[in-house]
């Protein structure tokens, strides 16, 4: 791992101190000027660090007042770009129900494929997310076999596909799009989620855009939201 950039050091410093409660909710961080002095840097760098904390939902700026620490919503974090593993409120475990394998592209992908993607088969794998032991989300994943080799799901860094992409392949997530539908569970899906056939389920189609040109990650999530609603947040 490379040495952190200066703005990332500042970002991490305050993130940690907010997480451990050293900066309480609704309180203000030091002024940008003071942070400059503390880290021996200039406002451009400090503002870049604070911008990242805003995007992560830790602070909010108030013109003329300061950078206020806000209450971070606790949740599955399912719809954030960090994926499922960022969850901390519940005990989440993951099983691999279909190992990564070469396949033809699936019609369940709700986004149009690029021409390049259509010319090659895809890699597919399926995982099931459990919360406190019960299956809650079925997750199908697809990506172009041309843009990335067949990954080994059993060697994922900390069990996370995204951390593996980041740390082993240096691929980062740049954006995500979702398409949401409420549906009734088929017998097959109901069985997998230990639900009754006909129960309402949330179907989320996902497309992740990555820093690697030509590589998009497609997903389909079938969620039992009866006990655990799905959360999402977005800060400007």
């Amino acid at each position: 791992m490379d040495r952190l950039k200066k703005y990332q050091q500042i970002q991490q410093y305050f993130k940690e101190r907010i997480q451990v409660g050293e900066f309480q909710q609704d309180s203000f961080l030091p002024s940008e000027h003071d942070i400059c002095a503390q880290f021996q840097t200039t406002r451009g760098t400090v503002r870049k660090a604070l911008d990242e904390l805003i995007k992560e939902g830790y602070i909010q700026k108030e013109h003329g007042r300061g950078s206020r620490v806000i209450e971070r919503s606790k949740s599955l974090g399912l719809l954030t770009v960090r994926g499922f593993s960022g969850a901390t409120d519940y005990e989440v475990t993951t099983t691999i129900s279909q190992k990564p394998q070469l396949m033809a592209w699936d019609a369940a992908i709700e986004f149009p494929l690029t021409e390049e993607e259509q010319q090659y088969p895809c890699v597919y794998f399926q995982r099931i997310r459990h919360i406190e032991g019960a299956p809650v989300v079925i997750e199908d994943n697809w990506y172009s076999s041309q843009a990335l080799e067949l990954v080994d799901a059993e060697k994922f860094v900390e069990g996370s596909f995204f951390k593996t992409l980041s740390q082993q392949y240096l691929i980062e997530i740049k954006g995500v799009e979702h398409e949401l539908r409420a549906e009734v569970a088929s017998q097959e899906l109901a069985d997998m989620l230990h639900m009754d056939e006909g129960s309402p389920i949330l179907n989320i189609a996902v497309r992740f855009r990555t820093s690697k040109p030509g590589l998009n990650l497609y997903g389909r999530l079938i969620c039992n939201t009866a006990k655990y609603p799905i959360r999402n947040s977005y800060y400007l």
Copy 2:
């Protein structure tokens, strides 16, 4: 309306040209250096403008190559911070089914209220969104009567609550959180959406954080996703 800041002029310039197709999907914008020359400014300002275009989902940066125009997902845009009115793909109309009125806070709000909010009644109103004439989304809205006066829903700027907040009250949206559930429609909701009782519906609880301290906007959306799925996107 104030004069646009320099970075906003640049932002708008390229936004318009992308929208009219002058910059095609997958093509590159001029280099940051060239944009500096074109607008007689410096890279900090140009990068600020491009950062905004990234957040709006118009471009994506590729290190060493340039700023690439990406395909913007066409959608209801329901889950974006711009609210429902940003939709352009379908013909969307809105009716006000409950005019803004003072009420006690509703238990349907899925987020914890602040102490300040609990001390005063709320303003409530309900709207119904129609696509091509058919009711698709029931939208309940709540906010603190202490933080903002009773609005007049019939005088909304271009029919949009958010545009009204922005232009008449100078209040901007700074962040949004969602909580998603798939449920079955009650008889009452099914009737309002012209569905059968027991059909699956998508329930979205929303909290908007605003630039006005003390003002959060709470919402509940009941969506019939059978014909029109809900879309959401997020770019870093």
